[in-house]
């Protein structure tokens, strides 16, 4: 019935290709012939969801199993949602067109907090009760994973279980245990919450936070045997399959190319960066394996571009071999290679220049802060000279356009640091005039508002108040010459994101109220409704500022304190203290261990392609 329903709605919506499931390499299985039906949802529109590598990895891993079918679900754009509600057509999974509610498990990829209302929106459109307490055995087990699962407390009332950490092995364990429990949701949850289960499964119903009179958490009481949840860790990426035949979207999605994850984790130790903390330790894939993966994926997709993805690709110990190999094997066929994240040094610029032989792309650096002092605070250890050297190398190679990323509202930031951004921009501009006289330059500066995230050294730091963030944005605009293009994030969205990033279970009510008031697609500027969010907070008797802007004390029980990333709280606190003193912590890649705790906890070591702790550095 719903497949027919879909057919009737497609002619009436914008971009109907968002709702098909027939792309090349999509997997279609007979539902009657499998034991487990797994719907994998991304709570944003198709073009965003299909750009996400994790979703593609899990889709492939699950569909490799003959006893499992995995199909994709994306959030329908509001035009489609309106038609579905009007026609009474429940949300379908793309491949089969069958209702999402008919699946056994429904997994959500949780990338950031501004997607949270879209989780409720997806459940609602699928006809699945939002709260786990209202769901029965006839409903799918609702599972969440991704970086936001490291503090999933605001979502705790809506999910049955979260997968914390690397998903490759965890998702297989989940399916196996589900079958071992005879597909009984309750038995499975009991098993996952009990002692002796695998790492990485957080059953929110097995924990109960209690609050003090002042609103802080008194304790997080474990109702089952397990008192904390340690993240799942894939000790070596060579153990993690990547799709040999990735789906080729019909639509022009945001990241529409072969994406190779060259490494997971990062050793730079930037104190603001959640990914840099929760994905430790660093694990590189070897150049040989990556070359193999590039060839098979290019052949099976027909893509003409390969992206080398990671948190800091130039750090890869075999990056020269990898790029050399890709160029010699695929360069003549017109295949482009892109580096999404460039380190600020001339080595990286040389790499980028090598790739320009094949394809033109822009050049982007992320100094993050305007002065060396503030960069020491955040442990982004690049000097002004590093940046000017990198920019100079780029100009000598012939680039005339540069983009710089900064953050506003970092701990200890003053107006001097903002002036530092303008100062850097001026120096880069003059350097260009010197090296490329008579040529125009395009300089773009993008400023995000800093959002303190859980499991980072700044998890205690109160976000700078919205009015002050706005003042600083205005100040920076005035300090920069008009010819420098400046873009920034909407402060109101940052406040909501910050409140939920460090939110507790009580925010579940706010989330549901906001959704009922029409909030969804909050990451989309034109869809975000700040007034409705404020009304939802007020209705629940909670204040966004209490969550977003309040600096926590060392002894406060943080809402995610029962979720263990392997990095110890003691290390994070040491790093926070070092930040406030302006002290650097060295990159652990060279063997300079900062004792973050993750290697000790799991009995592992960083995996470097060129050998343990080593190989050729920079």
């Amino acid at each position: 019935m719903s497949a027919l329903g879909r057919a009737g709605l497609l002619p009436k919506v914008a971009k109907p290709a968002r709702y098909l499931g027939e792309e090349h390499n999509s997997v279609h299985k007979d539902h009657a012939a499998v034991a487990v039906k797994f719907a994998l949802a991304f709570p944003d529109v198709y073009e965003v969801g299909m750009s996400h590598l994790g979703l593609r990895l899990l889709y492939d891993i699950l569909n490799q199993r003959p006893d499992v079918v995995c199909e994709r679900v994306f959030a329908p754009w509001p035009d489609m949602a309106d038609l579905m509600r009007e026609a009474g057509v429940p949300l379908w999974a793309l491949e089969s067109g069958l209702p999402v509610a008919s699946f056994d498990l429904l997994g959500f990829s949780l990338q950031h907090e501004l997607n949270f209302t879209n989780v409720l929106y997806t459940l609602d459109l699928a006809g699945i009760p939002l709260r786990r307490a209202d769901r029965g055995p006839e409903h799918p087990l609702v599972v969440g994973g991704g970086p936001a699962a490291f503090n999933p407390e605001p979502l705790a009332d809506f999910f049955d279980v979260f997968v914390v950490g690397d998903g490759e092995q965890a998702v297989v364990q989940l399916v196996d245990l589900y079958l071992a429990c005879d597909k009984d949701n309750r038995a499975l949850l009991e098993r996952l919450a009990g002692d002796g289960g695998p790492d990485g499964f957080y059953v929110p119903g097995a924990f109960e936070p209690r609050y003090r009179a002042d609103g802080q958490i008194k304790e997080i009481r474990a109702l089952a045997d397990r008192s904390s949840v340690r993240k799942a860790l894939l000790s070596d990426l060579a153990l993690g399959d990547v799709p040999v035949r990735p789906i080729v979207p019909f639509l022009d999605v945001i990241h529409d190319r072969v994406t190779l994850e060259v490494c997971r984790g990062c050793t730079q130790g930037c104190r603001f960066c959640q990914a840099g903390m929760i994905y430790r330790p660093v694990r590189e894939r070897g150049a040989d394996l990556l070359l193999e993966q590039a060839t098979s994926q290019l052949e099976s997709t027909g893509y003409d571009e390969v992206s080398l993805a990671s948190l800091s690709t130039a750090d890869h110990t075999e990056i020269r071999e990898l790029i050399g190999g890709l160029l010699s094997q695929h360069g003549t066929a017109g295949i482009g290679i892109s580096l999404p994240s460039l380190r600020i040094d001339s080595f990286s610029v040389d790499l980028a220049a090598q790739l320009q032989e094949v394809r033109k792309t822009g050049l982007t650096f992320a100094p993050e802060a305007g002065t060396e002092r503030l960069r020491r605070v955040i442990n982004k250890n690049v000097t002004e000279q590093d940046l000017l050297d990198a920019a100079g190398a780029a100009f000598r190679q012939g680039w005339d356009s540069l983009k710089l990323y900064f953050m506003i509202g970092l701990p200890t930031e003053t107006d001097e640091d903002l002036a530092g951004i303008a100062d850097l921009a001026g120096k880069v501009w003059r350097l260009h005039s010197e090296l490329r006289p008579g040529r125009g330059m395009r300089l773009a500066i993008s400023c995000a508002s800093f959002i303190p995230k859980p499991h980072t050294p700044f998890q205690w730091f109160g976000q700078v108040a919205p009015e002050e963030l706005q003042r600083r944005q205005g100040l920076l605009r005035n300090l920069l010459p008009r010819r420098v293009k400046l873009s920034w994030h909407n402060v109101e969205q940052s406040i909501i994101e910050a409140a939920f990033a460090r939110g507790d279970r009580r925010l579940g009510e706010v989330l549901e109220l906001a959704y009922r008031r029409g909030c969804r697609f909050d990451a989309w500027d034109d869809q975000f409704q700040y007034d409705q969010w404020l009304a939802a907070f007020a209705e629940a008797g909670l204040a966004p500022a209490w969550y977003a802007n309040r600096t926590r004390e060392r002894d406060e029980v943080l809402p995610w304190s029962h979720i263990d990333s392997g990095v110890t709280e003691a290390f994070l606190w040491r790093e926070y203290a070092a930040a406030l003193r302006g002290e650097q912590t060295p990159d652990c890649r060279a063997g300079d261990c900062g004792a973050c705790g993750v290697c000790m906890a799991y009995g592992v070591e960083p995996v470097l392609a060129a050998g343990p702790w080593g190989g050729e550095l920079r």
Partner: protein, 239 residues
């Protein structure tokens, strides 16, 4: 903006092939750009040695027939590819057919002369057929024969001296000169022959609307395509 390097030289095309591809089912919801991208990736997967243009950003030498509107199925989409070597048409056909995604079918593939204008550059006549999605139930709900009422609307449409439609930015266009014929057969099925040239082309949805129909309730299929030379219809293989 990016490093100054010598532009690449254009690769020499040795042979040119034209293929007719049908676009059916859900593939009709792909825009022209989606279709172009999909076909290009199909050719690459098929390992067809397409010649690259020169310049700073070399492009494969591929050309398509005129853009098809989103939502319309087609029996007659054409793609021309220029290769750096001679390959037997049957070999290319087999490789491409094996890689086309669902909804696309390779119907014919032939060698065509290298130096001929692209199909999209000709004025052309396109034939469409529109059938009601629900099999005509809604249109005949009041007990009258839907075909008869439609025929009356068609007669009025063709009798009009001009048919003004409104497009983006308050643009008004008279589409009457582009409508060559409209006929209703049982079903009802509306068959249209429409002219397109560099001055413009009518949209099937515009004509359905002028006929008092809800375009989303009709399934439209492009069934024939004739490039025009001095007003004469050519076969797409001769053009």
């Amino acid at each position: 903006m990016s490093p100054g390097r010598a532009p690449a030289e254009s690769q020499l095309s040795i042979a040119r092939y034209r293929m007719r591809i049908a676009k059916q089912g859900n593939a009709r919801y792909l825009s022209h750009l989606d279709t172009v991208r999909t076909l290009l990736r199909t050719f690459r997967r098929a390992g067809v040695p397409i010649a690259l243009s020169g310049g700073f950003n070399p492009q494969p030498k591929v050309a398509y027939s005129t853009a098809l509107a989103v939502g319309i199925e087609s029996e007659v989409e054409f793609a021309d590819i220029e290769l750096v070597q001679q390959v037997a048409p049957v070999v290319i056909a087999r490789a491409v057919a094996a890689e086309l995604p669902r909804g696309f079918t390779l119907k014919e593939l032939r060698t065509v002369p290298l130096r001929k204008p692209a199909l999209a550059s000709y004025p052309a006549v396109t034939r469409y057929e529109a059938a009601p999605l629900d099999g005509g139930q809604a249109a005949g709900a009041d007990g009258t024969d839907p075909g008869v009422a439609l025929e009356q609307r068609v007669i009025e449409l063709l009798a009009a001296a001009e048919l003004i439609v409104h497009r983006q930015k308050d643009k008004q266009v008279d589409i009457r000169p582009y409508i060559l014929s409209v006929a209703v057969t049982s079903g009802p099925v509306i068959a249209l022959e429409l002219l397109s040239d560099q001055t413009g082309a009518p949209r099937v949805t515009e004509i359905l609307t002028l006929l008092g129909q809800e375009p989303a309730a009709w399934q439209v299929r492009k069934t024939d395509f004739w490039p025009l030379e001095k007003g004469m219809r050519l076969s797409p293989w001769q053009a």
